[in-house]
Amino acid sequence: MKLQEYRSKEILASHGVPVSVGEVATTPAQARAAADRIGGPVVVKAQVLVGGRGKAGGVKLAADPAEAEARAAEILGMTIKDVTVRTVLIAPAAEIAHEYYLGIVLDRASRAVAVIASAEGGVEIEETARTNPDAVLRLPLHPLLGLLEHNVRRVAFFLGLSPDLRGQFGSILRGLAEAFASSDADLAEINPLVVTAGGELLALDAKIVLDDSGLYRHPDLEAMRDANEEEPSEIAAREAGINFIKLDGSIGCMVNGAGLAMATMDLVKLAGGEPANFLDIGGGAKADRVAAAFRIILDDPNVRAILVNIFGGITRGDEVARGIVEARATLQRQVPMVVRIVGTNAAEAAQILEAANLITAASLDEAAARAVAAARGEAPA
């Protein structure tokens, strides 16, 4: 789960990192009032989780409160990569002497938490890593000891910080590491970390991405979720305990297991169709969860057919089949449904499905082909 810039900054500030926090505004008038309280020139920054807001015109300087109001009016309501801007951050404009990048990331490939740092901040770190890899330090930390003092020194010397900045830098990196660990983050980054004209270090922008599996022990962070930036269907799915991602195709998929769900999508594509979603209904597949999944899939008007692929396994296939039939009866919109149930009691399941006039299939390939055909309005082969 990604946190908005202003949330990320609040967290870093609580761990002693000097940040340019500012104030959030949802109307131009609020933006003006915030700029007035802050005094001097400000930056008006769209609060969206998608990248590239700067290029999209979502970050603008304003010399005074009146200009802040005007810029906020431009930015609020703007659409950046399908997301409508509903909040802006009004932050004091800083005079920048130098920009650094400083991040902490959980690197799954090496199974380590690593500090990433570069003296070329202000641009995307992937870009620097590609164009000038020597300008990026990747320092894995000890998995049980975390950030040590010699790690801090190594990063400070790599960045070429002047002696008078090293002490402040140490507390910033320690604070960033604390924020990372104590919030179960996947990523915590400051970009840019600037030296101001006054010779102080300051976090101008910040980004924290949380590990979804850690959220259960951070209800305060869970509460920072920004529903504005999510597909309503994905929010509904999460609340129903379903793993769902909306896509652009016409064939809705309902599968148990993430790997099988991806394989099912792949086979829809191989059969000439386009999947409308990824949906892992999880273990058990009880009637109420099946019903919720159907509703979520059918909320998408592009969906012309549904492919259900359940590997019975421990759950008995006939029970799942009954759940599907019951759930289907509650739906307001009906589309052709191809249902494949394998494993325990698959034969009994097939009987129930056929009795309910659902299209069935023995193999996954066949099921995908039938779903594609059904979506095109063709009768089952």
Binding site: G51, G103, V105, L106, D107, R108, A109, R111, A112, V113, A114, I116, E124, I125, E126, A129, R130, V136, R138, P143, L144, D184, D186, L187, E189, K207, V209, D211, S213, G214, Y216, R217, I245, L247, V255, N256, G257, A258, G259, L260, M262, A263, M265, D266, L267, V268, K269, L270, P275, F278, F311, G312, G313, I314, V342, G343, T344, S363, L364, D365
Partner: protein, 292 residues
């Protein structure tokens, strides 16, 4: 005959009195696995599976009392990392963790502690392992297996069942089927299991089921090219999966260029592995590679 689990496995189940733990313990015992002990703190002295399995308060007592040499963990995510450490601490050398949703930073610590202690962890968020005709540990349905000479390793759950069923239906039995788990940080990698199959004299061919994300499949491909001379077939799920939905920002530095299904398919193909477009193609690819 098999890897990881066999007739000698003396299994302890942590969380045996929970709903999932009890259900699967029963299925494991019915399959023929020696389920020798259960652990549920506070229920020491009771029994499970109709009086057949003693329950202990701690893994230490269970190991001393029953000589358990492997553990299967069904405890909920908030307590699961600690349960893994408890098993390792009590001298268990092989731990399967079925639990899903363990925070990554917890698993990071657990991963290194178990590595340093020389304890083999499979999972978390994995379905377990079955050596057909001998023992199954975890939640893979026993009925889909058939005894034979193909080793299977997978990151998935139900997709694994799909492939195993297809193989068994086609008359291709398995030495052992291992699900290593779908979490970002798991105890045992593809390479670890491929190495075991490569060294197992009874395993004549190997099937690998991967999916998008990370670079484990690419690294496995390099290992296969270097070490494995047995016929191999693979399926990689996620060719149509939307990119970027779960990847962090700076993390992309590290996995730059990797992670897509095409990258993994290409790497495995270059290593001489036959690539299936559908799980149903696995049996014919194996047959084509000369597997009886």
């Amino acid at each position: 005959m098999s890897i990881l689990v066999d007739r000698e496995t003396r299994l302890l189940v942590q969380g045996i009195t929970g709903r999932e733990g009890e259900f699967h313990s029963r299925a494991m015992a019915e399959y023929g696995t020696q389920v020798v002990a259960g652990v549920t703190p506070g229920k020491g002295g009771q029994t499970a599976l109709d009086g057949r399995v003693p329950v202990f308060d701690t893994v230490d007592e269970a190991v001393r009392g029953t000589g358990a040499n492997a553990s299967c963990i069904f405890v909920p995510a908030p307590a699961a990392a600690d349960a893994i450490l408890e098993a390792a601490d009590a001298g268990i050398g092989l731990v399967f963790c079925i639990t899903e949703g363990i925070p990554a930073l917890d698993m990071l610590r657990v991963y290194w502690v178990l590595r340093q202690a020389g304890v083999r962890l499979i999972g978390p968020n994995c379905p377990g392992a079955t050596s057909p005709g001998q023992a199954k540990v975890g939640i893979i349905p026993g009925s889909i297996h058939r005894e034979g000479a193909v080793g299977l390793v997978s990151r998935s759950g139900t997709l694994t069942y799909e492939v195993v069923q297809a193989m068994s239906d086609a008359g291709l039995g398995q030495t052992t089927c291992v699900g290593i788990g779908g979490d970002p940080i798991v105890g045992t990698s593809f390479i670890d299991v491929l190495d075991m199959f490569n060294q197992d004299p009874e395993t004549e061919a190997i099937v690998m089921i991967g999916e998008i994300g990370g670079d484990e499949e690419e690294r496995a491909a390099a290992f296969c090219a270097r070490e494995v001379r047995k016929p191999m077939a693979a399926f990689i799920a996620g060719r149509t999966a939307p990119p970027g939905r779960r990847m962090g920002h700076a993390g992309a530095i590290i996995s730059a260029g990797g992670g897509t299904a095409e990258s993994k398919r290409a790497a495995l193909q270059a290593a001489g592995v036959s690539i299936a477009d559908s799980p149903s193609q696995i049996p014919s690819l194996l047959r084509a590679a000369g597997v009886r």
